[in-house]
Symmetry: C2
Subunit: 262 residues, 2 copies
């Protein structure tokens, strides 16, 4: 599982404050602590309070690149913020995200090509959130088709089925999980799959338990990547043990430590 740390997001008060005060030390601390906990990449989002996101995202990228060469995941719903971040990114990069709307795809897919970036495609459109597996597959196919038209390989595309909270969309959970499996057979070569995990437990009282149970199920259905909190040790234990059972990490008695030292 490719683990993307979610903590550098301006919606968290400690990050919002650090961005506002240009407090490098706090940002770099959260970058390094997530990597130490096992993150392969870091999501970067200025958050809703940023008054100058075009400048803030560049500051975040530069500050984080001072301490790590890990992949950066530029996270914004605004293509111009993504583009601003891309201009200063030296590390590998993933664009987070496009929707299935043609208008967005035609901006972001060429941008991803131009900057040699990978791209997250949300199976959502201006019409709203999909209500079942068929709607998810239809939106996924639209994204894959547009990428093909523009000459962007599906191997650089991460499809996201849009995880809904179990407390409001319990009947859709199995559909969401099965979408992960079915996205992989939309094209050959296969697109990759990703989820933003924490939404599954939004509003629930035992969030961590619901997060890790859902993630283990998603892993079995072939999930390639997840945006999550790597400082949740039990969640990372679940990620690592899923990799073990699915034969993606060789067994040794101290396999948890072995993974974290990788």
């Amino acid at each position: 599982m490719f683990v993307i740390g979610e903590l550098i997001n301006g919606m968290y008060p400690y990050i919002g404050k650090a961005i506002k005060e240009k407090d490098k030390a706090t940002i770099q601390k959260y970058a390094l602590s997530q990597i130490q906990a096992g993150a392969d990449a870091l999501d970067i989002n200025c958050g809703p309070v940023s008054k100058d996101p075009l400048s803030d995202i560049q500051w975040l990228v530069e500050v984080i690149q001072e301490v790590t060469e890990k992949t950066l995941v530029l996270d914004s719903s605004k293509p111009q913020v993504i583009e601003s971040g891309l201009k200063v990114t030296k590390n590998k990069v993933i664009i987070n995200s496009t929707t299935a709307d043609l208008e967005k795809l035609e901006k972001l897919v060429p941008l991803a090509k131009q900057y040699n970036a990978k791209l997250i495609g949300l199976t959502i459109s201006a019409k709203g959130i999909p209500q079942n597996k068929d709607q998810r597959l239809e939106l996924a196919a639209q994204i894959v088709a547009t990428c093909a038209d523009i000459g962007f390989t599906p191997e650089d595309l991460y499809l996201d089925p849009i995880v809904l909270p179990v407390n409001v969309a319990q009947a859709q959970m199995k559909d969401i999980l099965e979408s992960i499996h079915e996205f992989k057979i939309i094209s050959d070569p296969s697109p990759k799959t990703i989820i933003g995990l924490s939404n599954v437990s939004q509003g629930s009282s035992v969030r961590n338990l619901i997060n890790r149970t859902f993630l283990i199920m998603a892993a079995l259905f072939g999930l390639d990547a997840a945006i999550l909190d790597p400082l949740d040790k039990e969640l990372m234990d679940a990620v690592i043990t899923s990799d073990l059972i699915l034969n993606k990490q060789i067994y040794c008695d101290r396999y948890l430590e072995a993974y974290r030292k990788k």
Copy 2:
């Protein structure tokens, strides 16, 4: 998930001693504590040290029936021990187990019919343990076919794919999990599926974590029942949360407590 408590087994020293000394209180304590923790049924095995298993299994059944009406799972590789237990069982009962060998099937399937019992069929034979999914499916089909010949409905049959330890059979884990899914489509109506969970972590240093991760995956593939330690609270939390995500228990904020009070 139908949870079968595994703790009343003479291989555990405290149970072996209680059987030898005819210590009712200890047996009844382990029966009730497993039920309180969420077990739907209790496995009963005299263990390897019993000198008179035909008598010991009857004593265990009678002692446990004094305190509960839950399903009893008579566990022995010897058909005559199973038959002895069946003679005194008043509760619902599951026979644990037959192999795919015709000699065993021809004894145990009629016995299950005669006593209106359900039956666990291990996908194993005198030739040994299956090495892949195809061999598991072949043995499962043999069991289902023999049941059909004798007029035993697949709905009363629990097929067990034989869970191997991850530290010696890591490459087979996915095959074992997929077998659970494929057993369900061998016949219509479907047979049920079951695993003896704890073998997956045999010899590993973090047994509970491996157990619960594997069980969540098996749940996603449609596992109906598991023999496990219900006193492992985190394992039961995983069982209950799997049921929640798979929409088998209605969401409420205190869903863990709601399940345990059921």
